[in-house]
Every structure is written in C-alpha cells, then in structure tokens.
C-alpha cells in the first residue's frame, strides 16, 4: 500500500468514515516495521491499540475458579430439575412416614393397658406363667380331693340301694 493510499485512509479514519475492513488494513500497515517518520505519532497510537488488544486476563486459576462457582450456582438445567423432582417426592414420603408414625403412637396410647406386654424378659414371663399355672393346678387338686368325698357318698348310696333291692327280691320270693 503506497503512502497516498494510507494518507487517504487515515483521513477517512479521523473522520470516522472507515469500515472495519479498512481499519484492519491500517492496523496491518502500522504493525509493519517500515512506517514513514511523518506518521510516527499515528503509529504510536495504533501500536497502543494493538498493545491493549493483546492484554489477556492473566490469571491461571480464573477458569478453574469460575467453573467451580458455576457448578455450585446452577438454578437451571436438567440435572438440577431432576434432583429437585426427586427431592420433592422424597419430602412427600418423609411427611407421610412421619404422619403414619404419629397416628400409630396415638392409637397405641388409647389401647387397653392389659393387652400390652407386662414383661420385657421372656424368662421372667415364663416363670410368672408357671407360677400362675401352678396356682391353678393346686386349686384343681384341692377340688378333686373334695370331689372324691362325693364319690364316697355315691358309693354308699349305691350299696344301700343294692341292699334294698335284695330285700325286695327276698320278700317277693
């Protein structure tokens, strides 16, 4: 590009009439080494622009930090939606389980006391049961003894009756 072309492009540039394409040409021209001394200060300006453009966000941990933050703060997205749905269902189940447990507790409270277990140790319960059964069996034994006396009366009655029958037979003869 000759100097006249550059001059006219620059004139357009100062008047803000250059297109992006033309500005790219100017940038390329000033990035080259053989810039005429008359354009020294304009070259400095373009070199400033280039210098600024090449300035990166120089922080090695920036990407890692931002990605970590993005993973933490994710109100949208399918995975999160799925998680929130599962969480809703789980919350419902927990509420239902808690309600069932509480109702059961209430029902147990209102049950008659004698139905409930009185012994927690099965051995002790067995001993107590044996004791109770022994008491009953002792009662039965006593009753049987008394009942055997009744048998005696029956026997006597039968004998008397037998004798009376014998007498009748004899008198009939």
């Amino acid at each position: 590009m000759d100097s006249r072309q550059i001059e006219s492009l620059l004139e357009k540039y100062w008047n803000c009439d250059t297109s992006l394409e033309e500005e790219k040409q100017l940038k390329a021209f000033f990035a080259a080494e053989n810039v005429p001394p008359s354009l020294k200060e304009t070259a400095e300006l373009f070199s400033y622009f280039q210098n600024q453009r090449q300035r990166p966000l120089a922080d090695g941990r920036f990407d890692a930090n931002i990605l970590k933050k993005l993973k933490q703060a994710s109100p949208e997205g399918n995975v999160i939606k799925m998680f929130s749905n599962v969480a809703k269902i789980a919350a419902g189940v927990v509420v239902l389980a808690a309600a069932t447990y509480m109702v059961r507790q209430e029902v147990r409270k209102s049950y008659p006391a004698e139905v409930a277990d009185t012994y927690s140790d099965p051995k002790l319960a067995l001993e107590e049961t044996k004791k109770a059964l022994m008491l009953i069996s002792k009662g039965f034994g006593k009753a049987q003894k008394e009942a055997s006396k009744i048998e005696l009366f029956n026997e006597a009655e039968r004998r008397i009756k037998g004798k009376q029958d014998e007498k009748k037979v004899i008198s009939n003869i």
């Binding site: 803000c16 210098n51 600024q52 930090n65 994710s74 949208e76 997205g77």
Partner: protein, 170 residues
C-alpha cells in the same frame, strides 16, 4: 447449554470482557470480579441464550452495566467530591501500567484515560476490540449518531494531543 459449550463459547471471551471492565474501572481485581459476575449471570440464564442474537455484545453490555454500578457505589463511598475523584482516578496511570509501558505508550494511555467516559468506551470498543458500529450501539445502549459523534470526538482529541506533542514536545 452445558458446561463444555459454555467454556468454548462464552469463557473464551473473558479477555475482551476483562479489558473492557478494566478500561472502565481502572482496577484489575475489580475488573476480574465483574467478569466473574457476568459469567455467573450468563450461566444462570443459559436456557435463554438461544434467544440472544449476539451473546458477546450481550456479555459486553452486562460488563458495562456491572462496572458502572461499581463506579457508582465507589463514588457514593468516596469522601471526596465526585469531580475530584473522577479526575484523579481516570487521568492517572495504574502502577502496573507505569512499569509495563514505555514513555510513548504511557503518554497515549494518559490521553485516552483523560477522555470523557463515553468517548473512552467507544474508542476502546472500536479501535481496540474492533466491534462494528451496530455492536457498539447494542453494548452501550446508544444510537448510531451518538456512537459516531463520541468516536469522532475521541479520535480528534487524541490526534490533536499527538500533533501538539510532536510539534512542541509538550
């Protein structure tokens, strides 16, 4: 949009966003914070990204708005008057700039930094980042006329100062 697509499509624009935020805030750490904030906002609205025609311009606009919010809250906090604070913060070089740049670059940095805010934004977007006029309108929420007037004034002002330096060594 998943994380991998976000990384290739959006995260790759981080340096552009950072430069623009730095141009407005003149503070590297704050500029990084703004870029991070922009990315989190974009990620949270990623389901609507398909509706956005030019996502890069959209990110740049968000960068501008968040940076200006910070400037406003900074000004509210400042004990000095707003005008004093504005002059001091914009026309001076950051310590990093004064060690990194040679004399002529430092001079131009001062010229650009002393421009009014809108002109600084427009010249940065056009001459540093190479955005089209339409994109600049979208980013800065200005009409075409305002963009061109601001760019014309910014370039003229810098040119004038460069000519003065060259002619009188001022």
């Amino acid at each position: 949009m998943n994380l991998a697509a976000f990384q290739t499509r959006i995260l790759s624009a981080k340096s552009k966003l950072f430069r623009f935020a730095f141009r407005l805030l003149d503070n590297e750490e704050e500029a990084k914070d703004v870029v991070q904030e922009v990315f989190i906002k974009v990620w949270n609205r990623r389901e609507r990204m398909n509706e956005v025609e030019n996502w890069e311009a959209w990110c740049m606009r968000m960068t501008k708005n968040l940076s200006l919010d910070r400037i406003r809250s900074r000004q509210r906090r400042a004990v000095d008057s707003i005008d004093d604070h504005f002059d001091v913060s914009t026309a001076a070089l950051s310590p990093q700039e004064s060690t990194e740049l040679n004399e002529s670059m430092q001079r131009i940095t001062l010229f650009i930094n002393s421009l009014p805010e809108k002109q600084r934004q427009v010249i940065h977007l056009r001459d540093v980042e190479g955005y089209s006029y339409n994109e600049i309108c979208e980013i800065l929420e200005l009409d075409m006329n305002q963009v061109k007037v601001n760019l014309f004034r910014a370039r003229s002002s810098v040119r004038e100062k460069l000519i003065k330096i060259n002619a009188y060594g001022l």
